[in-house]
Structure formats: structure tokens, C-alpha cells
Amino acid sequence: MTYIIRRFILLFVTLIFISVITFLVFQILPGDPVRTILGPEAEEVQVETLRRQMGLDKPAHVQYLNLVQGFFQGDMGDSIRFSRPVTSLIMERLPITISLAMFSLIIVIFVAIPLGIFTARRENKWSDFLLSSFTQLGMAIPTFFVGMMLILFIGMTFSFFSTGGYVPWSESVAGAIGSLALPALTIALPQIAISFRYARNAILEQSKLDYVRTARGKGLTEAVVVYKHVLKNSMIPVLTVFGLILAEVIAGTIVVEQVFSLPGIGRLLITAVSYRDFPVVQGIVLYIAFVVVLINFIVDILYTVLDPRIRLKE
């Protein structure tokens, strides 16, 4: 219990920290948002008026508090380019990005863990060599290249997979899956290459421990020994890795949304950056930071589910 409370406090502190940093970065960043909106020929009076309207004439700490308040009230100002509230711009695109990220994560989990188990059971020089080559390759190939290859060889061959654009879940479930499968796979592949090794090593390491011998000594089948005893223990270190992987996956959506023309947060971010759409960029950065911190918190909670030594610690 105290563990969860401690983690919660940590979550809170991290959020404050991140929001302050984000705020400061946008303070330091060159370029004046007000002048960006009004253009280079704007009059000084106009500039001052708008600056006051946007609250940018206030002292820094007041601006910061406004930002925080706005974040929780869902009011992050208006987009310069779209002249619409940042919050609704983000909310419209959020389902796409979240679907994509979850889809990728599910692929990673359901491929990496079985692959880790499979390869752990066949430990020898040759498989080691093949697997580390695969890992190197998976990490070295850039995501956009993987994406384009998938479009070329799978997307163009099977009509089920769309090679660009998005079909909402509400419209057609199969369509949504078809439009997300290839981008999700693109994000997942390098992550599988990394994470299955962690799973494999964790399983190999756990398999050597005394309790595994006890389990065999009871007369349990290999399946029970591996899938019950070894796996649950191995998932504790693997969980840490999946926390990091999920952050990577979210970062991956930014590039992949470009390659597959998915109208998600990533595309919004890139458009916003190129238009110097300062409120949108700030909103998205805060959103991503918030999600990553939240993921870490969830991972910490999951530890307590898996590991009684953490759950029951004073």
C-alpha cells in the first residue's frame, strides 16, 4: 500500500517537473508566438493587445499556473493555424494514435514473449548468432523504410491492408484493423527485436534458479514449470522493458503516421511544428509527457500485481 502511495507522489512530482521544463523550453525557444500569428507587418499596438489577450504579458509564474490550470480544464488555448481549441484538435486525433500504439504494443507482447520463450528453450551457439543478427538488423533498419517495404510487399498485394488513410472503428472494425495493421507492425518490428531478447534472457536466468528445480522435483510437466513458475518470475524484469517499449511505440507513431498518412497526433505535431503553431506544439508535448509518466505509474502498479515482495513490503 505504502508502495503505491510513494509511487503516486512520485507521479505527481514528475508531472510538475515535466510541465515546468516544457514551459521553460517554450519560454526560451526563439520566435514570438504573437508575432507569428500577426505576421511581420503587424502594428505594435496590435501585438500588445493580442499579447495581453493570450496572457503572455503576465509574469512567468502566472503564465505557468495558467498553463497548468488550462491543462486540467482542457483549455490549452487556440491553434494559430486552425484557429480552433488545441484540446479539441488533440482529442479528435487521440483515438487514432492510441489505437495505433495499443495495436503495436499488443503485437510486440504477443510476438516477443512467445519468441523469447521459444528461443530460451533452444539455447546454443547457432541460435544465439542468428538471434543477435536479427536483433541488430531490427534495430538498425529505420522505421520509415520498414513501413515502405510493408506497403510495397504486403499492402500492395493484399487488399485487406490499406496502405494509407484511416477508417474509424465506428465505421468498420475490419476496416480499422486493416488500416492500422501495417503501421502497427512497422512500429512493432524493431521493438520486438529488442524486447524478445530481454524476455529470453530473463527466462534463461530464471530457469537456473533453485525454485525451478523444486518445481521439476514435484513431478510437474515442463509446460507447467515454464509457463507457470518461470514465466511469472521472468515477467517482472520484462515489465520494466515494456514500460520503455511503450514510450518508444508512442514516439514511433509520429513517424509512422507520416508514412501511412494517418491523421493522428504525430501528424498534427509535425504540421504544428512546421507552422510554428506554438500552442498546439506545447499541448502535444505536454500530452505525450503526461502519457509517458502515466505509463510508468501503471508499470509500477503492475509490479505489485506480479511480485508479492513489492506488494507486501513495508
Binding site: 533453485d210 528445480r213 523444486t214 514435484k218 510437474l220 518470475n233 511480485d307 508479492p308 515482495r309 507486501l312
Partner: protein
Amino acid sequence: MTGSVLEVKDLRTSFFTPDGEIPAVDGVKFHLKEGEILGIVGESGCGKSVTSLSIMGLVPAQNGKIVGGEILFRNEDLTKVSAKRMREIRGNDIAMIYQEPMSSLNPVFTIGNQLMEAIRTHAKMSKQEALKMAVDILKRVGLPRAEELIHSYPHQLSGGMCQRVMIAMALVCEPQVLIADEPTTALDVTIQAQILDLMKKLNEELKTSIILITHDLGVVAEVCDRVAVMYAGKIVEEGFVNDIFQLPKHPYTIGLIKSIPDVRFKKRKLYSIPGSVPKPGTLKQGCLFAPRCLHAFDRCHKATPEMVAASPSHGVRCFLHASQEEGQYGGNLIKS
């Protein structure tokens, strides 16, 4: 002649490493009679654990292998049975407890879960019945508040409690043979005595035959009926505990007896046999104890002594005693 539950004949178990074959157990021969407690004693690295793991069929498969001999459990050769048959025997007919009780339990499952798993692997019964049985067996091994303990995790228990749980887990299917590999080495002295008492009590009540492995002859004196002294992968002396203590024959056994800590002289520096157990396979020729033996003579460095009978129930593997015997020591000659 009372039957033997278990007979190990010329067992050889090796590990295969880049440096070559390591014959950790090299021709071990002993038998375990119905209802007796047999001690196997020897310094660390003698091959005691590998012997017991061989019997359980749990020699680490990555690099270890039984390369010869027989392990007869009620005349069934365990080195030849199928993996499936071995699983039926493991935990059900032959059970084992280990040196490190804390790490031998799975940290992420409750005591109850691990006990019930042992029960339900070999007996078809409902969860409720298994739970009741688990609570009963915990009480039986002297654990207080068994109903609560069932829901605890290993890290919440002391080493002594964990070892009692391990014993409970091993006994829950009422095995005919219990192999205890240094069950008290990791525990402190008072707990050690309690655990030994418990094993003795269970041996009497349940008629479980026990192989008690230890590096401490003092433990053997307390609980065992017979003892086999092991050195560098071989049994070097075997006999009834009284005979071995009163008339030890092998220089190694004599050294071990001298190294038993004497409670009366706490301050006295403990005797220990000079030198250490040779790495298996390093000595190619002669008696493996020769480099450390005060009595070694020419022959000891050239030939390997065979097991000979000092009496029908007392075997010894040493050239000093080679003249007394008639023929080979059989081990099975022992009268009941």
C-alpha cells in the same frame, strides 16, 4: 534379507564442459533399505548433490548426463524409464528437499499454492480437499497458524519455516524415499536440531526411507542408521553408524570424525583435513585421497583401491585394509 527400496549401482554422472568431461559421480554404489535413514557424508564438492539429483532425474540437462550405472527403485531402473514415468515417480514416490530452503520456493506464489500444486499433481482431488490436506501437513511439520501460513509468500517466512514447508511439500504425497540434501546447512544450530528431530519423527511415523546428505558427521551420528562416506565421486566407506564411529577404517573417515565440532571444547580450534577435494577428473591414477592421506604408500599412487569388506556390513576402499578381505565387498551381504 529386508528389501532395498533403492539401489544405486556403479552410477556415473558427468558434466561436459569446454575443458572436457568432469566425472562428478564416478561409480557410486549404495542401497537404501526399507524404513532406514542412510547418511551420505563428505566434504563439499564430493558429488553428493549430483548423486541425489541423478536419482531424481534432475541433473542439469544443459551439460550434465548420467553416463553409466543403474538406479533401481523397486527394481525399476530410473536411468532407463521414460520422462513421463519419471514425472510420476518424482514428488510422488521419491521426493527431495534442498540445501537452500528460501530460494527453493517460488517467490511469486503462495505457500498454499505451491503445496496444493504438489498434491494435485499426483492425486486427483478438488481444490478444497487439497487445501485441507495442505493445512494438515503444515501442522504436522510443526508450523503454527497453518491456516494463515497458506496465504503467505516465501519471503515472509524464516529459513527454518521455509525448510519445514519444503519438508511438508516433499512429504505431502507420502513418498517412499525422501532425499534430503544438506537440509540444515543453511540454518542456525537450534533450528538445525529441530529439523533433524522432525525428519526422524516422520521417518518413524510414516516409515519413509530417508537419504540424508550432509558434510557434518555429527548430524549423521544423531539421526542415521547407516552411513556412506563419499570422496571425490566415490563411496570410500560404508557401514552402520556405530561401526563407523567406533572403528573407522578409511583415513578420510577418521579425518572427518576428528573434525566433528566438540561442544565441550568450544574454544578449541577445529581439526580439518589438510588440503581439499580434488576437482573431478584431475587425478588420473591411484587412490584419489592419496595427496591428502597421511598413510599413503607406493601402491596408493599407482592403483585404485576397490571396495572391500571389513565385516559383512562394513565396506572400505583403502589399500590399508585390502589384505583382510575375502573377495569383493558386495554391500548387499549386510544382514538385516
